[in-house]
Symmetry: C2
Amino acid sequence: MNSDKPAIPRGTQDFSPEVMIKRSFIIGQIKKVFEKSGFLPLETPAMENLSVLTGKYGEEGDQLLFRILNSGNFLENIGDDDLRSRNVKALAPRLSEKGLRYDLTVPFARYVAMNRNEIVFPFKRYQIQPVWRADRPQKGRYREFYQCDADIIGTNSLICEAEIIAIINEAFKGLGIKDFTIKINSRKVLEGMAGILGAGDRMNVFFTILDKLEKMGKEAVSREFISSGFGNDFVARLESMLDRAEVYQLNDMNEFLASSDTGKSGLDDLGRIMEYSRHLGADDRKTRFDFTLARGLSYYTGAIFEVNVSGVSIGSVGGGGRYDNLAGSFGLPGISGVGFSFGIDRLYDAMEQLSLFPAQERFSTRILITNFGDEPEIFALKVLSRFRNRGINAEIYPENDKIKKQLGYANKKGIPFVLFIGSDELKTGKFSLKDMISGQQEELTIDEALQKLLQGN
Amino acid sequence: MNSDKPAIPRGTQDFSPEVMIKRSFIIGQIKKVFEKSGFLPLETPAMENLSVLTGKYGEEGDQLLFRILNSGNFLENIGDDDLRSRNVKALAPRLSEKGLRYDLTVPFARYVAMNRNEIVFPFKRYQIQPVWRADRPQKGRYREFYQCDADIIGTNSLICEAEIIAIINEAFKGLGIKDFTIKINSRKVLEGMAGILGAGDRMNVFFTILDKLEKMGKEAVSREFISSGFGNDFVARLESMLDRAEVYQLNDMNEFLASSDTGKSGLDDLGRIMEYSRHLGADDRKTRFDFTLARGLSYYTGAIFEVNVSGVSIGSVGGGGRYDNLAGSFGLPGISGVGFSFGIDRLYDAMEQLSLFPAQERFSTRILITNFGDEPEIFALKVLSRFRNRGINAEIYPENDKIKKQLGYANKKGIPFVLFIGSDELKTGKFSLKDMISGQQEELTIDEALQKLLQGN
């Protein structure tokens, strides 16, 4: 035990007050938009039974689950031979029956299946909670991070997709992010493409490799298609499409997908979604059809989205799509819905890079009242109470310390005003109010100081 | 794997939207008061190194830590004999190096020790996060529950204790809780008492047994003192004090503690705290000196508090006190402070019992717009956007379903107004607005409907 130099686990982070205030701003803005659109909050436990979690994220995902060691004698029912085998993959499930949630979608599906009789469908819920993954920590990738999901389930209506687009527009307006792009595509369009290009029987592999385009570039993706046995002809035709990806509009795709009913239905959906979202007030120019958008997850079946902030070198700050079978593995088949997830950490980085965080006066103390002990201290407490009662965040320096130290406290904490209450001031009824930014001082009555602070609020 | 009937781990709970809205109300009110008093938010990771957690909560606490199984081959470095021994107490630390946090105080102390050079002292932080304990689940006791802590550290000033009292008053005002009692005592008073009663050398045992008074009653406590060897004389004198506990005021104690400097200093503190808190606007009559208040934790050294809501059969809804050595075990001795923790779950139960939750219009949808497809649907989307732009939480029913189903949705979700937009209405420009509570309908233009909703907001 090395308790003299405490540390936090690799891949986790403390959120200092400074960071928390900015994170709260982001989360608060997004919540407001969710609630305005009729989404209701939900929270699920950090721990889920491993029977709920395993098998939902592929084999790789299962490896990344954090498992909770069973309480009591967790080795009791394991035989000597099993122990000696050290086959941890086989033993882990016997030592542990609970794990930390890996995302918010599976717990949501579990919740819906468990509460199917009480839930009012269509069900619109949002959920903002941390998730945990035993990934190798690296810059920007944490083992504990927040997800911020909104889902509408129990309806096929394309209005839901349009609502998601409108929500992104509205949330970004609140955050002050002006330049962004919502890329939109449909799994149906991709299915049509794959069929026409001759890969209709290997859809999921097609999605998975295409999904790497942005990260790896066209050549590397082509090589991976070849090495995965997709054939030269397929790759040549795909490449010629990718060359024109930037200019390909919905109409161009219509021609290409003429022979695919699924593909055409996907294009119809996208056209309808664009129209709906326009009526909902979303900015048309921010939404861009991109047939190369694939998304990694296998459960999408309709429209898919991804959002990027312009001018920052950060990946997508959110993504989502339509799925047709949310809770099938929990015995509740046929629940269709649309989900979207904001990446809070990346939004934070983007806003930091673009200097978009407003001065957070609501959170931080607006005025510090000095402490000179005795009578002034008593008077200062009463003044403090008056300021707070008027909704002004206010503090008294708790000790009768050197004035330099008291001002230093205000300075370091970024408190913009300091009110001096000493015995001389008590006699005259006039108190110095110091503006810590300009350095100027004014002699004011308490009422005047209060008015001045109220105007600034 | 029994995935058809999913369940959540014993002792954990989902917070449904209905519950979340009420919890958010409580947390929002408390946060507001914290921020008005200059406290800043902090969040720490759910996982801490076990070297940070163990040894801080006594042996019983260590047993209740949830341990995370190491990733990779967690059995690799454990010999066959050790495995066969099945000595889980010895093996657990070798299988797992991280655990879930057990409270917010130890992570806070760890944070302060790690960031001692950046923190501006006195440091006022609040923290609202879940904690985990592998306790036997029972009614009202969960394995995952929220704590809501505020601490002021780095100063001995008794203003801090008074601030805590003022915060409790202010928070309860915001929550609508009118009848409550803040019990206050000081560990110094208890030390003085123990000394005078002849138990000065067994202070901690004295605190621990006295702490059970409210739960077990006087006779059981007396028996436990006897069986712990405190002697008949001690118990007789303590009992005669306990008989008068209700009427014992600070002054009575002054007499009793005349020979104890520590005890008298504790009484002086309490007098000063009461005076300060009065000046800060706290209601005097809500704070009651109670020399039987002991608090379980060993680290308190000065004033201690506990809050009870009147008229409900729920234990204390919050507690705290002054400590003198927050971060000593992390190599940072001598950090004094005052902490207080609100019990969110118990406050929830108390407010539910007293019917204190306000109608939560801010969160829930105020108006549902019907969906009759085609032209009306397009028009409805535009209207929806107008309502939301004016800050009204609004929804459109996503599908052109039977009107009965659409109204049923509004009803079940508690949406107070439904606006009918059909093709006939489009021609006349007058739309039916139905008040779902009274059942009355009015024919209004969109502008008039908007005005009506705005007035209700």
